[in-house]
């Protein structure tokens, strides 16, 4: 177990290293002189030269990379062009807004998908199964940003139940998820975020449940006189380790995929930050945000793997 954990942690290091290489490359693949990408359009020639020296852009690429990495490791990801503020602070603030709604969304998706999965597997091929499968296919196929637009049309435009965008007057400062006047701003983003993982997880739960229900040992349980409900509880307990792992993975995808949903709802998270960076071609901000999100994704995967190997000791063999 500990050996597996150690090995898994050590294997994460080259991955994180690769992530930094790709993020570093983002500036390189951006068209034009990298210095122009790092500078605001209004900067003077002297500014450009100063920056060029500061970034060591006259040096060969590997050296530039090492310099850049050294700064990143101490938390310096450069300055945002648009606001001229440190990227690090801006990204971390936004990240908190993203991670909270992503977690709420994924937990809701997890609970609902377990219920749906059980209901569908209970009478495999029945009407409920077909309906749930249809919802799952919808969840998997729907573009989240369109779903967001639809939600706005229904709940904000037609019904006027929920605010269409933003985080309310106070912004993210002092935003209280426990008070309805604040939380209602988060409702639609959460629904839009939750649907795709709901679709995927329902599908997985359903298929792994019906696989288990067809195995011999379940027949034995039935023969022993267990009720269908008891058998189902048994089966659900069996798929939990895999389902929990799935939950972690989906959380990772959500923080990456939040860019579209947050753009639709102008929710001030990392996704919205990315959109802003794209519109203003603020490459340092883009690079910093991507780096933080990808690192978070890698770390979430690591935690999921470790947690799963704790729950399910068979894992460590592979």
């Amino acid at each position: 177990m500990w050996l597996y954990a150690l090995r898994r942690i050590i294997l994460t290091i080259p991955i994180l290293f690769g992530v930094t290489v790709i993020c570093f490359a983002l500036v390189q693949i951006a068209p034009g002189d990298p210095i122009q990408n790092l500078l605001s359009p209004t900067a003077s020639q002297a500014d450009a030269e100063r920056l060029r020296a500061a970034y060591g852009l006259d040096k060969p690429l590997p050296v530039q990379y090492v310099i850049w990495l050294g700064k990143v490791l101490v938390g310096d990801m450069g300055m945002s062009i648009a606001n001229n503020t440190p990227v690090t602070g801006e990204v971390l603030r936004a990240f908190m807004n993203t991670i909270v709604i992503a977690m709420i969304a994924v937990v809701i998706a997890f609970v609902l998908s377990t219920i749906f999965g059980v209901a569908a597997a209970y009478r495999s091929g029945g009407l409920v199964d077909k309906a749930i499968t249809a919802v799952a296919v919808f969840g998997i196929s729907v573009p989240t940003f369109w779903l967001g637009v639809i939600l706005v049309i229904i709940f904000a435009v037609n019904l006027s139940w929920l605010p269409a965008t933003g985080m309310g007057a106070g912004g993210s400062k002092g935003f209280d998820y426990l008070s309805w006047s604040d939380f209602r701003f988060a409702v639609m983003p959460i629904i839009a975020l939750a649907l795709p993982p709901l679709g995927i997880m329902t599908r997985t739960t359903r298929s792994s449940l019906s696989e288990i229900l067809n195995q011999d040992f379940v027949q034995t349980l039935r023969a022993k006189g267990l009720t269908e409900t008891e058998v189902m509880i048994h089966a659900v307990r069996n798929i939990m380790p895999a389902a929990v792992a799935m939950l972690g993975l989906q959380l990772g995808y959500l923080i990456g995929g939040s860019v579209l949903v947050e753009t639709v709802f102008t929710w001030p998270g990392t996704g919205y930050l990315l959109n802003k960076a794209i519109l203003t071609r603020d490459i340092p901000l883009l690079q910093g945000t991507i780096l933080v999100l990808a690192t978070a994704f890698v770390l979430i995967n690591l935690v999921v793997d470790l947690a799963q190997s704790l729950i399910d000791p068979r894992i460590k063999r592979s």
Binding site: L3, L6, R7, I10
Partner: protein, 361 residues
């Protein structure tokens, strides 16, 4: 080294492909070795090795069938793959009809390919599931330069030769054949390059008894017609006795006994061979012997026992067996009639209490 005095087999007819003369063994295997690394740990380093084939020497006389037997995992398939050059050997030489194989001076690998072919165990993986069997058979000749028309004609002729009607079967896919039919295709595919030596690894093991008999008869017929030499690997001692001229017994990557089939079956020298044969007999209720002689699992080939590898399971084990490895003797200089065993009990002066005092006649 490459020429040696052994009596030629009874009826070795002239073969235009012959280079070394009838007395030259078809294949000489000299000190061949293969260790598989086992990787583990945080950095995936090699921490140990499976000694799958550990210093094996023997030869196959032209026109004979050499049976190879041994428990599962003793290295039979690894040996077959080494002979076929499907995996690289760590050490040792192969001499094919007098020519060193693979090294710069000897026969090129391509020559070996033609002369040596292998029939795999019937399984879902022995035939390409996406190719009609005609194409599976024709593939070899095409690779060797035949036009696809010639190769196809050859494939159809071979199908008839192994007892499959070409009109009926040529376009079929493997999943549309029975086990016996698939095995005939496997044989036809191996014959397509006109080989001189066929290695049959568990070629009939997965078949029903009656089908097995048909395929064995087919193999006997083909051998006569095509002047073939066989290395026949199996764990079924009945089948090996039926088809072999000589038998080689393997234990944990080594040869423990080799000799003519009747001598091995009627007078086994090595306690392991004796145990194997006793196991076989015990399956037949009329000849059941007391107590299963082969107790326990074979030891781990990663860390084989010191001295004689069989000592952990041998009823005659003595101190000398743990400290000193018994030798089989110089197999390559022995005659095909010789019966050799790697056990201290057969070597005079070995220090084992049951060892003979003088050289036996």
């Amino acid at each position: 080294m490459t020429q040696m005095a052994i009596s030629p087999p009874a009826a070795a007819s002239e073969d235009p492909r012959d280079r070394g003369g009838p007395a030259q063994p078809m294949l000489i295997v000299d000190g061949i070795r293969k260790y598989f690394p086992i990787r583990a740990g945080v950095l995936n380093r090699t921490v140990a090795e499976v000694k799958a084939v550990d210093d094996i020497s023997f030869y196959v006389v032209k026109g004979e069938t050499l049976g190879i037997v041994g428990e599962s995992g003793c290295g039979k398939s690894t040996l077959a793959r080494l002979l076929m050059h499907l995996i690289d050997r760590d050490d040792g030489h192969l001499i094919l009809d007098g020519d060193l194989v693979g090294e710069e001076t000897g026969v090129p690998l391509d020559g070996l390919r033609r002369a040596l072919q292998m029939v795999f165990q019937d399984s879902y993986s022995s035939l390409n599931p996406r190719l009609p069997i005609e194409q599976s058979i024709a593939y070899g000749p095409k690779v060797q330069g035949a036009s696809s028309k010639v190769a196809k004609a050859q494939a159809r002729a071979l199908m008839e030769k192994v007892g499959l009607k070409a009109n009926l079967f040529a376009q079929r896919y493997p999943h549309e054949l029975s086990g016996g039919q698939k095995q005939r295709v496997n044989i036809a595919r191996a014959l397509a390059l006109d080989p001189r030596l066929l290695i049959l690894d568990e070629a009939v093991s997965a078949l029903d008894k009656s089908v097995e008999a048909q395929v064995l008869n087919l193999l006997e017929d083909l051998k006569r017609q095509l002047n073939l030499t066989y290395i026949f690997i199996s764990h079924d001692l009945h089948v090996v006795r039926y088809i072999s001229d000589r038998v080689l017994v393997m234990y944990l990557g080594q040869v423990v006994e080799i000799g003519p089939v009747d001598k091995i079956y009627e007078d086994p020298q090595h306690p392991y061979t004796q145990a194997l044969l006793a196991c076989r007999l015990s399956m037949d209720p009329e000849e059941r012997v007391e107590a299963a002689p082969l107790a326990g699992d074979p030891p781990n080939p990663v860390n084989p026992p010191s001295g004689c590898r069989f000592h952990t399971r041998c009823p005659f084990m003595e101190d000398v067996c743990m400290s000193k490895a018994p030798s089989l003797g110089d197999v390559l200089r022995s005659s095909a009639q010789d019966h050799l065993a790697a056990c201290h009990m057969v070597h005079p002066g070995s220090g084992h209490s049951r060892a003979p005092l003088a050289v036996r006649a």
